[in-house]
Symmetry: C2
Subunit: 354 residues, 2 copies
């Protein structure tokens, strides 16, 4: 098995730490290791660094080489621009020179996983299922009716044990709250973590059937040795939408449920949930060269990365993120609205802060 990691960027809800020049995968949000480096490290020994490939915007090549010294630099597939995950996965299928019947795992570069052995075990299970031609998705056992995730719904009357392989009935895009509650109640729904396992030939067959425009354009680009013209016209769509959804309706998708302490770290509130400790539920962190001091706060997240001292006193449910040129102080239950800040800065043309 080899692994393709999609390091596309993004993470505007993690502003001001996540920036255009250094987006979310390249940040050390928990511990001292970046999300990208953690993603690669936790695959070993199931998939070693020499079998890890990356698809990313060309401008992040230097960050990837810096953060992943053990991954051969020829394993980096540079996209001229980002065009969402369908294009990235299709490019991986075409551009990586591996046997057609070998199993490929696709993983996002910017998630957290607590139980790393559990993830590897699920990937191994998925690999065996993929060997038989299935398109396999990993389904995170949901801990609540989250509206920020897509869901994978498996067929009724299936066993529900981690490590099983169960047939997928359909995918559901981010639901509203009442639908999320119904999904949870059904006992058949898992969060779609964007982790997929399939044989390269099964992937190519699926793309040729469900997304021929993307595959054909990229084949042309790869053959010509110049991706830029092909990418310029590509539609932006996710691999979930382009391939998994239609294939699931054909009964070709399976799911491996797992429960490994997964988070997509989609916002500062999500990071707080991962890191908060003790009765006070605080998570106060300072990067080297920065410092943080708290007195009597509760439900606090501090990420000090501005090279300065951050002092908090008596706060409740607040997020503080300090960087050299911008500091964010946000009510924790407004963490989604950090996107509004980024939009406002973009509208005001203040690109130096983005």
């Amino acid at each position: 098995m080899y692994a393709v990691i999609l390091a596309g960027g993004g993470g505007t809800r993690l502003w001001p730490l996540s920036r255009t020049a250094r987006p979310k995968p390249f940040l050390a949000l928990a511990g001292n290791v970046t999300l990208l480096a953690s993603t690669v490290a936790r695959l070993s020994p199931l998939v070693g660094p020499e079998d890890v490939y990356l698809v990313a915007d060309a401008r992040y090549g230097h960050l990837i080489r810096e953060q992943l010294p053990d991954v051969p630099s020829s394993n980096l597939i540079a996209e001229p621009v980002g065009r969402n995950t369908a294009a990235a996965v299709a490019l991986a299928a075409l551009a990586i020179d591996r046997p057609a019947d070998e199993v490929m795992a696709v993983l996002p570069a910017d998630h957290l996983v607590v139980d790393e052995a559990g993830l590897r075990s699920a990937l191994a299970t998925a690999s065996r299922a993929a060997d038989g031609g299935h398109l396999v998705t990993l389904g995170i056992r949901p801990s609540g009716p989250e509206t920020g995730y897509g869901y994978v719904v498996v067929r009724p009357d299936q066993p529900d044990r981690s490590g099983d392989v169960v047939p997928v009935e359909r995918f559901v895009e981010k639901p509203d709250h009442s639908r999320a509650v119904r999904l949870l109640t059904s006992g058949r729904a898992y969060w779609n973590a964007g982790i997929f396992v399939w044989r390269r030939d099964a992937l190519l067959d699926g793309l040729r059937e469900h997304a021929p425009d993307i595959l054909t354009a990229l084949e042309g680009g790869v053959t010509a040795g110049d991706l830029a013209p092909a990418y310029a016209g590509l539609r932006r769509t996710s691999i979930d939408h382009a391939l998994l959804e239609p294939a699931s309706l054909q009964g070709r998708v399976s799911c491996v449920p797992l429960d490994v302490g997964w988070s997509d770290v989609g916002s500062w509130a999500a990071l707080h949930e991962e890191l908060a400790e003790g009765d006070a539920r605080n998570a106060v962190r300072a990067e080297p060269g920065s410092d943080a001091l708290d007195i009597d706060s509760r439900g606090l997240l501090v990420h000090a990365a501005g090279g300065r001292l951050v002092v908090t006193v008596g706060l409740s449910d607040v997020v503080v993120v300090d960087t050299p040129d911008a500091v964010l102080i946000c009510a924790r239950d407004r963490a989604q609205d950090v996107k509004l800040v980024v939009d406002r800065l973009a509208n005001d043309g203040r690109t130096e802060r983005l």
Copy 2:
């Protein structure tokens, strides 16, 4: 009349803006003018800058000269170290070469006054009373049972109109809440703003009677042309405690009540109270070179002075103070506890942040 402004420093509750190297009087907390410069400016035309004197720690001489270019530099009386206000006032009485029967006004350097004409009018009234030999204090009409101020209690059955001169019965040091409520109910209590008006000879007579140790030591220092040995042994006490309290018991102190929008800006919460505007009661300020952006906060004070962008989202009753090497985020009702932060930094030997 001439004016003596006590620019002693302090303001630890306004950390991290107020620092040892640039304490509270030298900060522009409201508008673009420092508290010290505002204090001098609002005396004119009653007292022009040539008749303004300053008593301050020698190390602040350069800040004073920079901020008060119209005050002759010979009007700066430098103390070798700070020893509270009794020493500073006694030094002013001895070291400033003005006629013995001329009236001197003493004012703190670090307060805010909205109605500046009202202050000058009260000072003029006080000056006439002081001409007859009284020690006169200005009494701020209280707006609530504050426990952070000392009180001046006038004799019963006196008229209570701004601009009157009423005899003082006694001074009360910072009361607890129930005593503050009783003081307010009495209708005879005013906040002690530390603004005093007296003839120089009346001041010297009072000091010779009630604080002879301080006066004698400083006379020796002034005569010898070296204040350092005298200051080394001086007791630290306020002019209120050393002179006004005992003199009031002798019936020698009068009060001029006034209502001029006064604040001692004793904490970030006090500054918020002065500056908050609109239904949301926000006060968001950025110094030149810094910037601030708020979305949907209430009861917020932002003072951006770190040369960076400060973004706040959805906060309630929070204070944010940004400086180049430290940022404070404090629940507004915990503003008094900023002193704890300063104490903690001092105990940890982190003097570079003080």
